[in-house]
């Protein structure tokens, strides 16, 4: 099927939790617990949700930095969830990741040039002179001066470091980029430059993005479709404009109401979701969201809701007993 670049089916990533003096695994952290999604060439799927709900883990499974516990990941029709290290290396060229915490992802002992050049070397691209030219070109694209090449990540501010990460991730002209909070550390004038850049790159190379972020105005701006995740599962998905106008799931509604607006005159009347985020090690029975849901009924604590067609959006899905 050519219309789908990435197809994920019932994906699970359960981390073993080791306990006791014998460090036996008696429980699992169900960080990703049965996720299905598709991304078309040139499309952006926005992924939002509570911190700890498994967004980064999902991204890392798709980038095959993790080997998922079960489920299927098809990239251009090819099953990649089971590939070993050798077979994966060809696939890595096509799918790249921009990380949430730039300090964690950049090797602090390497210069900027070495960091950006590394994927080119791993993939055996060009000679030394060509790569040096490419590194300068990439720095220019992300808005860093050419003489940054000999400097080290710690010499840059948080935002500048994120741009180094973006330069590295686009070095190989990938088909899919998992953007894990790529602009959260950037101030707005640079954020808009990077967002424009991501949109430009997408148009030029028909790139696809899985765009993870907590700034819903940003996600709305860049996404064609949005998936809302809660505790390892997708609770609502659909066209991004429709979801913002007419969210169906109570969690999506409270998410949207929590967006801080750049208007100090606005009277903030929001429904804070109270209570604890349940642990993915011991998720509640029934709907994962019911302990915090302002509208939960008895059934919500018993039956697990399934994703089904949304009333608001012909392509949307929602997982809530209250919307039937």
């Amino acid at each position: 099927m050519s219309k789908v670049l990435l197809e994920v089916q019932d994906l699970k990533m359960h981390f073993p939790v080791k306990e006791g003096i014998l460090l036996r695994t008696s429980k699992y952290n169900k960080a990703v617990d049965g996720i299905s999604l598709e991304i078309a060439p040139g499309e952006t799927l926005g992924l939002v949700g509570e911190s700890g709900c498994g967004k980064s883990t999902l991204g890392r499974c798709i980038a095959r930095l993790y080997k998922p516990t079960s489920g299927s990941i098809k990239f251009e029709g090819e099953e990649i969830s089971l590939l070993g290290a050798n077979a994966l290396s060809a696939y890595r060229r096509h799918i790249q990741m921009i990380f949430q915490d730039p300090m964690e992802s950049l090797n602090s002992r390497h210069t900027v040039a070495e960091i950006i050049e590394e994927p080119l070397i791993v993939q055996n691209m060009g000679d030394t002179a060509w790569r040096a030219k490419r590194v300068k070109e990439l720095l220019d694209i992300v808005g860093l001066p050419a003489r940054s090449v000999s400097r080290y990540p710690f010499e840059f501010s948080g935002g500048q470091r994120q741009r180094i990460g973006i330069a590295r991730s686009i070095a190989l002209n990938p088909k899919l980029i998992i953007c894990d909070e790529p602009v959260s550390a950037l101030d707005v004038s640079i954020q808009s430059q990077i967002l424009n850049l991501l949109v430009d790159l997408q148009k030029e190379f028909n790139l696809s993005y899985l765009f993870i972020a907590h700034d819903l105005a940003v996600v709305k701006h860049i996404s064609d479709r949005i998936a809302i995740m809660y505790l390892g599962k997708i609770v609502e998905t659909g066209d991004s404009q429709t979801i913002y106008r007419n969210a169906q799931h109570p969690y999506t509604q409270s998410l949207i109401s929590a967006i801080p607006m750049p208007d100090p005159h606005r009277k903030v009347t929001r429904q804070l979701i109270i209570g604890d985020v349940p642990s993915p090690i011991a998720p509640p029975p029934g709907c994962n969201f019911h302990p915090r849901c302002p509208r939960a009924i008895e059934r919500c604590s018993v039956d697990v809701p399934q994703l089904s067609a949304s009333k608001a959006d012909s392509t949307g899905l929602v997982s809530c007993h209250l919307v039937d």
Partner: protein, 325 residues
């Protein structure tokens, strides 16, 4: 007007680097009042974190030093204190929440150890009491199963939970001043709303003063009383939050406000940007630091840096042309 709890006057902070001396913070002044939230916004690299680290006296050593100005906290100049004196204030009277939670947490110690450490250092309590208080504080910042989390290590938590731990540690001793450097950047919005609400609540309860560093103008609009806009190590504009959003005087502030994606912006449309890049600290222009990106630049802007001008009481700007533009 109530008296300032913290007054930063003409602060200058420099780094020794291989390429020469870098002046990351150049002659900045602002004041934070008890019970108020002061926001600091600005381009990445403009010196917000260095300002915070200067106040905390946590500049990376030996490269970083305060070379000018004063930092008056309750009338006492923090820049002059010895490190042991400063250690008594840090974590107890002034606390800081960092931008990258992983750098604030020690990866080889449990959450519980890091939380009880600060309590035991500043309070006269037993280890057992410290553990009990630690669990309570973790619960207060919304961490599920706090007693279990006490025994875990930072890498076992998601980014958001790590930041809540950092906030818990910062608030453990009920400080007078909390400096929060991008405290909610890694968090999703419902948790951000809770954390900001939590900080507001604690601020009301304790009369705490908060300095909030963020790039999110939405967060500024909703939580701050006063705002300092920084650019390339200098203050571009200082104003009350209403003044700043209603009548921004500096071209940089105007550019920032124009470039935010809003809920009604056409998807994937071109966002307004501020052209160009911030000048490097090693090749700063002679004149105004925003000169190379400014749509209103004139010849005089290149000659010398503009002084701070009063737009109205409590609203100041560093621009030659603010009256004309």
């Amino acid at each position: 007007m109530s008296e300032a709890l913290l007054e930063v006057n003409n602060l200058i902070t420099e780094f020794d680097t291989d390429e020469g001396v870098v002046r990351a913070v150049d002659n900045i002044s602002f004041a934070a009042t008890a019970g108020e939230t002061l926001g600091i916004v600005g381009e990445s690299g403009c010196g917000k974190s260095v300002t915070a680290l200067s106040i905390m006296r946590l500049l990376p050593q030996p490269m970083g030093k305060i070379v000018g100005g004063e930092i008056l906290f309750k009338g006492q100049n923090l820049a002059d204190l010895s490190l042991p004196q400063m250690e008594k204030i840090r974590g107890n009277n002034i606390s800081m929440v960092f931008q990258e939670p992983m750098t604030a947490l020690n990866p080889v110690h449990t959450i519980g150890r890091q939380l009880t450490e600060v309590l035991l250092l500043h309070k006269d309590i037993t280890a057992q009491q410290a553990i009990q208080q630690g669990v309570k504080i973790l619960d207060r910042v919304g961490i599920p199963s706090p007693d279990i989390r006490m025994t875990e290590y930072p890498h076992q938590l998601s980014g958001g939970m790590r930041q809540r731990v950092v906030i818990a540690i910062a608030l453990a001793c009920n400080p007078d001043l909390l400096i929060a450097d991008e405290p909610t950047t890694a968090l999703d919005v419902t948790i951000q709303a809770q954390i900001l609400e939590l900080i507001k609540e604690l601020q009301k309860d304790l009369g705490m003063s908060v300095i909030l560093i963020t790039h999110d103008l939405g967060v500024i609009a909703e939580t701050c009383d006063k705002v300092v806009v920084m650019y390339a190590g200098k203050v571009a504009e200082r104003a009350s939050v209403h003044e700043l959003f209603d009548s921004p005087a500096h071209p940089y502030t105007q550019g920032l406000l124009a470039s935010i994606p809003r809920m009604d912006t056409t998807p994937k449309s071109r966002l307004s940007i501020i052209e160009g890049m911030v000048p490097g600290l090693l090749d700063l222009p002679e004149g105004c630091r925003f000169e190379n990106r400014c749509p209103h630049k004139r010849a005089l802007c290149e000659d010398a840096p503009p002084a701070i001008d009063e737009v109205s009481p409590g609203h100041e700007v560093s621009c030659y042309r603010w009256q004309e533009i």
